[in-house]
């Protein structure tokens, strides 16, 4: 392979990984916007999405149906968690809330262990076919799926927040919950809705990369951490910021692994995060 | 040091928030040992001025001389250690980890103890002795404000008025030269205001200079040696109570209906 083909290959893997980070970051941001809460259990939805779909497909359920069923299951799970476990914790400290979501993630991980065991599972690619050759680099078809799904999700989110009454209500809730409730917006329902969305998108991220990963019950931890990073670099509450940060993170990772060192790529990523937090606490893309 | 007998001299203090001038070139000074009142309509910049003086929110421009030393640019805790203490308009007591009323007052001694980690762990005897001494002093102060029975209660269990008194005791615990009080009498009933007036006079007799922001004009007229009136971030007038009462600008801008209170100055 030539140098250029290497660079292109790194670009592909960077965009793939970056899309996943972006999706997870967006799922975190949606929940954060309405609940002012970062849910440490988001990585578990990633795992549940991937493994539910794998199981369904292996049982002979057609791929499209399995796809939607898995998303719906994750959404119901997320809404349920919000309703039963998060809602009663309204007036507690940030620390207690963080630990609550950690508790939920432990329980979900434990549940995943019971359902799917300790082994890894692979989902067949969404469509068969040879990788496309571009400038000497191989582009797997699943990457197109991943990028396509990410794009569609982001478009839907944009449309939802900008054009639909429910989305505008959700934005109002995020900006001023009290004012929103005065205006007759049902903040509880909106919050529930946001959790369902967030969980669904988290699951989607897992499903999209499931054909390229060996997913097991602990697989949610690293994607979740990277999603956090993207979210923090993008500014905690910004969807656009975290999408850009997610893609950027994927690219930085891919190129440092490829060109500099695979050993220290995570060191660099986390050092970058610390630098952003210390020097630009409102996110890399914030004004002023 | 106490040049002209002035303990605090504020000159040209300006504070802008996003281009809006909350304080506009405010200057005045306070004689050592005086009670100076800062009055004016809501939003005139009174709390902003206190925050600028105490360093919580430093001024954009101007100087604040405490005993001749410019404190603008110093950290809040450094300014406090120079002998400036305060109470808050919205009560801010320490309530976490079951901190008691007594604990709140004891914290006032922090700047004199400056506890170190080493001393805390390895010089237990010294710490214990210190603790006995300051506890005695804290109890005396609680007695002064009438809260000695509540020493081991939690601040949240006190009435609103008593929480304000607790804030005062905490501020006195620092041995301040200068005390900034932000609406200390709001929410007190008439009897409590009277007791509070006597308390302020006692504090004054100890030689502590007081800058007080207050809406209760009766209290202000009773205790203030001198008054500054703020309006829209500017100094509108300054002078002894009788002069302020007679000032037509002040009556128009602020006193208006309240001017009956001025009928009985001092």
């Amino acid at each position: 392979m030539s140098d250029i083909s290497h660079l292109v290959q790194f670009l592909f893997s960077g965009i793939t990984v970056g899309s996943v980070y972006a999706l997870i970051a967006v799922s975190l941001v949606i929940v954060y916007k309405v609940s002012q809460l970062i849910c440490f259990a988001q990585g578990e939805f990633f795992v549940f999405g991937a493994l539910t779909m794998t199981t369904l497909v292996s049982k002979g359920v057609p791929v499209p149906l399995a796809f939607f069923l898995s998303i719906i299951i994750a959404m119901v799970l997320g809404a349920l968690i919000q309703q039963v476990l998060i809602r009663p914790m309204k007036n507690t400290s940030v620390g207690a809330l963080i630990v609550m979501t950690i508790a939920i993630s432990l329980a979900l991980r434990g549940l995943a262990l019971l359902i799917w065991g300790r082994e890894s599972h692979v989902l067949p690619p969404f469509s068969r076919g040879e990788p496309i050759q571009i400038l000497g680099a191989a582009l797997q078809l699943q990457i197109l799926w991943i990028v396509g799904i990410t794009a569609v999700v982001l478009l839907l989110i944009w449309f939802f927040f900008e054009k639909t009454p429910a989305g505008i209500a959700m934005r109002a809730c995020a900006e001023n919950p009290y004012g929103a409730s005065l205006m007759g917006i049902n903040t509880q329902r909106t919050t529930l809705f946001a959790w369902a969305w967030g969980s669904g998108i988290g699951a989607l991220a897992g499903m999209a990369v499931a054909p390229m990963l060996f997913t097991q019950y602990t697989s949610g931890i690293m994607p979740m951490v990277k999603g956090f990073i993207a979210m923090s670099i993008g500014g905690l509450g910004s969807i656009v910021g975290s999408v850009i940060a997610g893609l950027l993170l994927g690219l930085v990772e891919s190129y440092t692994i490829g060109l500099i060192s695979s050993k220290f790529s995570d060191t660099i990523v986390f050092a970058l995060l610390m630098a952003v937090l210390v020097f630009r606490p409102n996110g890399l893309f914030s004004r002023s | 040091m106490e040049k002209n007998g002035h303990i605090l001299t504020i000159s040209g203090v300006t504070k802008t928030f996003d281009g809006v001038r909350a304080l506009d070139d405010v200057s005045f000074s306070i004689r050592s040992g005086d009670i100076k009142a800062l009055i004016g309509p809501n939003g005139a910049g009174k709390t902003t001025l206190l925050n600028a003086v105490s360093g919580l929110n430093p001024p954009t421009n101007g100087s604040v001389l405490l005993e001749g030393r410019d404190v603008v640019g110093l950290r809040t805790d450094q300014i406090a250690s120079l002998g400036m203490s305060r109470t808050f308009q919205l009560i801010r007591l320490f309530t976490i980890n079951n901190a008691t009323v007594l604990d709140n007052v004891l914290l006032g001694a922090h700047m004199h103890l400056k506890p170190t980690l080493f001393g805390t762990i390895f010089l237990r005897r010294k710490i214990k002795r210190q603790e006995r001494e300051i506890t005695q002093k804290a109890m005396d102060l609680l007695k002064l404000v009438g809260l000695e029975k509540d020493a081991h209660a939690f601040p949240g269990e006190l009435s609103f008025g008593n929480q304000r008194l607790l804030e005062l005791a905490r501020a006195l615990m620092t041995d301040p030269k200068m005390l900034l009080l932000d609406e200390p009498a709001s929410g007190l009933n008439d009897t409590e205001v009277e007791e509070f007036t006597r308390l302020l006079m006692t504090i004054k007799q100890q030689g502590i200079t007081i800058l007080i922001v207050e809406h209760n004009m009766k209290l202000v007229m009773n205790i203030a040696d001198d008054i500054v009136v703020l309006d829209f971030g500017r100094k509108l007038a300054e002078g002894p109570p009788s002069a302020i009462c007679a000032n037509p600008d002040v009556i128009q801008a602020y006193l208006g209906v309240q001017s009956t209170e001025c009928g009985v100055p001092l």
Partner: protein, 317 residues
């Protein structure tokens, strides 16, 4: 009764001291108790930082790692005596906490959580990366046993007494800190940073001091861990360990010193009960924690004190 209330800790000490003699624990059980002791040291330090000073850390295991690897590397590769290596680890951890404390602790809530998490990962990835020194992902072997005054700790019993002696010292010093003017300043910072500043508390300095003390405890815990195990690997010090510490804090009752100690003891002894259904352990941990958070926000220690107050009626103050 009053004397009982005053000197109950003597009973606790006696119980710790005589347990191995009377209980004759198996090596497995002593091992659990030794791990529990090490985690108590970590949790108590984190409680100073989080429960008292109010600064969230999702990266406390970083200092656990620094202590363990300093001890491991210096004794296994450079022939240092274990106590000297532990001392170097303590100095190193305290310096690291001092240098990172100011910028990191200027952050709040989630930003602070993220920064501490990042710090933890940086330390772990550096350990994995510098294979030549640390043994990388496969771990560092052949760490000699601990020696004090020429006496080697050779069996579980020795380690049990040594670790629990350190536990007692750590708890005693932590209590000394929180029940002092120093601790009052920390609580003031936790309650209201601006107000604390108005009373002369140099918040950045005191936060950093609390962070340094927690780091020192964690470093000591790391050294003990390294010598007891004889083998350490990066997995023991990742953010999952840090998260486990948070769980211990809230499970036991944050901001009470004894609570987090109880939480650590409970979580580390739990395998004793749950080992028969291994695959359920994670789920059980999660559910226990959820139940505690929802129904007993003051944790196990809160339940304990409530029970004590019921049995022993409240003494007059």
């Amino acid at each position: 009764m009053n004397t009982l209330k005053r000197y109950w800790w003597l009973i606790l000490l006696a119980a710790i001291a005589v347990y191995p003699v009377i209980g004759k624990p198996s090596p497995y059980r002593s091992g659990l108790l030794i791990f529990a002791g090490i985690y108590i040291i970590l949790a108590v330090g984190l409680d100073l930082l989080m429960g008292y000073t109010g600064q969230i850390s999702v990266g406390h295991a970083a200092f656990f790692a620094v202590g363990a690897y300093t001890s491991g590397i210096l004794t296994a590769k450079y022939g240092f005596s274990p106590s000297a290596a532990m001392g170097v680890g303590v100095v190193f951890s305290a310096t690291l906490a001092f240098l990172t404390g100011r910028p990191v602790l200027a952050l709040k809530e989630y930003y602070l959580a993220m920064a501490t998490l990042a710090f933890n990962e940086i330390v772990v990835t550096l350990i994995i990366g510098f294979e030549g020194l640390t043994g990388g992902a496969s771990g560092l072997r052949d760490i000699p046993p601990f020696t004090i005054f020429g006496f080697s700790l050779l069996n579980h019993l020795h380690y049990y007494y040594f670790v629990w002696t350190v536990v007692v010292l750590v708890i005693a010093s932590a209590l000394a800190v929180v029940r002092s003017p120093f601790g009052r300043a920390l609580i003031a910072i936790h309650s209201d940073e601006q107000a604390a500043r108005s009373f002369g508390v140099n918040c950045a300095k005191y936060k950093t001091r609390a962070y340094m003390l927690a780091a020192v405890y964690a470093s000591i815990a790391g050294s003990l861990f390294a010598h007891y195990m004889g083998f350490i690997a990066p997995d023991d010090f990742g953010i999952l360990t840090s998260i486990n510490l948070l769980v211990m804090l809230f499970l036991g009752g944050i901001g009470t010193i004894f609570g987090p100690a109880l939480g650590a003891l409970f979580l580390k002894l739990l395998p004793e009960i749950t080992y028969q259904f291994q695959d359920y352990e994670l789920l059980i941990n999660g559910i226990i924690l959820i139940v505690v958070l929802v129904f007993f926000p003051r944790g196990l220690f809160g339940i304990f004190t409530a029970l004590r107050n019921k049995i022993v009626p409240r003494m007059g103050k």
